[in-house]
């Protein structure tokens, strides 16, 4: 979320405003850089993704007005639109939070941490373990739901962050000078180890690795909230709202950390030039560990939110969401924090639209959603490997 990425080019319509002294002063205040700008950016991304996908959907409806007899696609679109947008936003934020882990680590080490999907899984399992502990102690229902959510996010986030740091120290750091394929393969190996260790632990302790969040029985989390939009009534799940609020708060915090603190500046410096950062006195290894911690914490918190939302997790749930978040990171431009946010929201929206509309097409079901999503990954890798926001041209060599 660099504060430059949305600024209009020179010669734009907004120049008189942008060059005015009052604006110049305002745009350097912390309030603008850490509150107004990032929230504005999130809103712009959501609106842009919604407009783009809605237009695309109606375009398809124009070409294929009646995919099945008596099913008018454009009617279905307008009826389902609010629901698709809301679920797209909430799953999009989950992908964005996971995508940040891939992108932060890629930024400092130029390495794709494929074990990150299992960090996400680990977070969802820790979230379950915490709530299950409260539930078996008989106090779960007594906890204020807001406090419960905050505690779950903190515990899952911290545990997952520490796990990510441990993995980096034990498995990746010794390989830092090895050929690039070596840590990549190691990361895949770590994924399998984590899946099986979690399964073993779950099987030993509760004799089952299908882990059902006990919040399923709590009305606060389960009863949908009716929201009237125009003539439609949409039922919004509480967990979707929780995801959005938690994600926005965490994204603001991350933006402040990266762009407003000394450690964040150090991490950005390392991502540009590791050797020179060391010369400046930056403790490079410590900052790399910190990056893994933050990426892991975001992945783990996202895992817990995801678990809360779907209600049931296993040691194997990380793979597909992890791959989608990786797609989001690549789509936005791997290594670019703003790109991870944009990519996550886009992938989430695309998925929600496909889930909403594909069932109306003969022979294509909801299962094609994943095929199309990963088709996007392949297309981006072929046609624009630097992603939507990846190309930074202001770098003079």
């Amino acid at each position: 979320m660099s504060s430059e990425s949305l600024s209009p080019r020179q010669g734009g319509l907004l120049d008189p405003l942008i060059q005015s002294e009052a604006w110049q002063r305002f745009s350097h205040t912390g309030f603008y850089r850490f509150i107004v700008f990032p929230i504005g950016q999130i809103i712009v991304f959501i609106v842009a993704a919604t407009v783009f996908l809605t237009a695309l959907a109606y375009l398809v409806a124009l070409l294929i007005p009646e995919p099945r007899p008596n099913i008018v696609l454009s009617d279905q679109i307008s009826r389902q639109l609010p629901g698709m947008v809301i679920s797209g936003i909430s799953i999009g934020f989950v992908y964005a939070m996971v995508a940040l882990g891939y992108t932060l680590v890629y930024g400092v080490l130029k390495f794709i941490n494929f074990a990150h999907s299992e960090i996400f899984m680990f977070g969802s399992v820790i979230g379950f373990a915490f709530m299950n502990f409260l539930s078996s102690a008989g106090v779960l229902a007594d906890w204020n739901p807001v406090v419960l959510v905050i505690a779950t996010i903190l515990i899952s986030g911290i545990a997952s962050g520490l796990l990510a740091v441990l993995i980096e120290r034990v498995a990746y750091k010794p390989l830092r000078n090895a050929p690039r394929l070596v840590p990549l393969i190691t990361a895949i190996g770590i994924s399998f180890i984590l899946q099986d260790v979690v399964r073993a632990l779950a099987s030993i302790t509760i004799n089952d690795f299908n882990l059902t969040y006990p919040t399923r029985n709590i009305a606060f989390f389960q009863n949908p909230i009716p929201v009237v939009i125009g003539t439609n009534e949409v039922r919004v799940r509480m967990t979707s709202i929780i995801i959005v609020i938690a994600a926005v708060i965490m994204l603001l915090a991350l933006n402040y950390f990266v762009n407003g603190t000394k450690a964040g500046r150090g991490i950005r410096a390392i991502s540009m030039d590791q050797a020179t950062s060391g010369l400046m006195g930056i403790p490079v290894n410590l900052m790399i560990s910190l990056t893994f911690f933050i990426g892991g914490a975001f992945g783990g918190a996202a895992g817990a939110l995801f678990g809360l939302n779907v209600g049931n997790v296993t040691p194997y749930i990380g793979f597909i969401p992890g791959l989608k978040a990786f797609t989001a990171a690549v789509l936005g431009g791997i290594g670019n924090i703003t790109g991870a946010l944009l990519g996550g929201l886009l992938i989430g929206m695309i998925e929600a639209f496909l889930n909403g509309l594909l069932p109306y097409f003969p022979a294509i079901g909801i299962r094609y959603t994943d095929i199309i999503t990963f088709g996007i990954l392949i297309a981006v890798l072929i046609f624009r490997p630097s992603g939507l926001l990846g190309e930074r041209v202001d770098e003079k060599v």
């Binding site: 000394k262 500046r265 050797a275 010369l279 400046m280 006195g281 202001d394 003079k396």
Partner: protein, 239 residues
């Protein structure tokens, strides 16, 4: 004169390439010492060995009476050695201000000290002040060199290692850079200057070393080296 920095019989390798073959260099407090030599002689490697980016296989690097041979770069920098690397290596996506802030990573004493130092840098390099919010990567070559030097001076180092500060700059700017190096030294800073531009470097240096394929072949005062036949033939382009 007190010895500030001393390399003794340093051997540095890149894999099987023996880049430094027993280099011994001494820098005293308050001096400008220059290391001249052809491309590939090992000048950059000498500086990298001092600042810890590469480790010597044998030999010793002493700084302020302390053995820094095996220290990590960020610890060496905290000891007071500021290395301005070859090619400037400013952070292209950080603003001028942020580049200077990164340079003050280990500065103790908080915001006040840092902004005082920054103002000193702006006195020395007024151009940087005009560009304070501009990304480092958008500066011209000369401005980037100024930023690289200012960023290192933010540490208030005991010794400044400069690797080819004049490289790639227009002749008028080269004069300016050497002028600044002289001023930095007159302000009390010790400088170890690596240059291919031997003439200019030897003119401002108190002492100099000539490096050839990883070995020191000559060592003398700057003035004496300027008169030396080998130096005149090999590095000053005389026949």
């Amino acid at each position: 004169m007190t010895v500030l920095l001393e390399l003794t019989q340093v051997h540095t390798y890149y894999g099987h390439i023996h880049a430094l073959k027993g280099v011994s260099v001494r820098v005293d407090q308050g001096e400008v010492v220059t290391l001249v030599g052809a491309n590939g002689a090992g000048k950059t490697t000498t500086l990298k060995t001092i600042s810890g980016i590469t480790r010597p296989k044998r030999g010793k690097v002493m700084f302020n009476g302390q053995d820094i041979t095996d220290m990590a770069p960020h610890h060496i920098s905290a000891q007071g050695i500021a290395h301005v690397p070859e090619g400037r290596r400013i952070f292209p996506l950080l603003s001028v201000r942020e580049n200077l802030e990164v340079g003050s990573w280990n500065v103790k004493g908080g915001r006040g000290i840092i902004s005082d130092r920054m103002n000193q840098m702006f006195d020395m390099f007024p151009r940087l002040k005009e560009r304070i919010n501009q990304k480092g990567g958008t500066l011209s070559g000369g401005e980037q060199q100024m930023l690289a030097m200012a960023r290192a001076l933010m540490m208030a180092p005991s010794v400044l290692l400069l690797d080819e500060p004049s490289m790639g700059l227009a002749p008028v700017l080269v004069e300016g850079i050497f002028e600044i190096v002289k001023r930095i030294n007159e302000a009390g800073n010790t400088v170890l200057l690596v240059e291919q531009n031997a003439l200019m470097a030897l003119e401002i240096a108190h002492r100099g070393y000539v490096l050839q394929t990883g070995e020191i072949v000559l060592e003398d005062t700057g003035a004496a080296l300027l008169q030396n036949d080998l130096v005149r033939k090999a590095y000053l382009g005389e026949t």
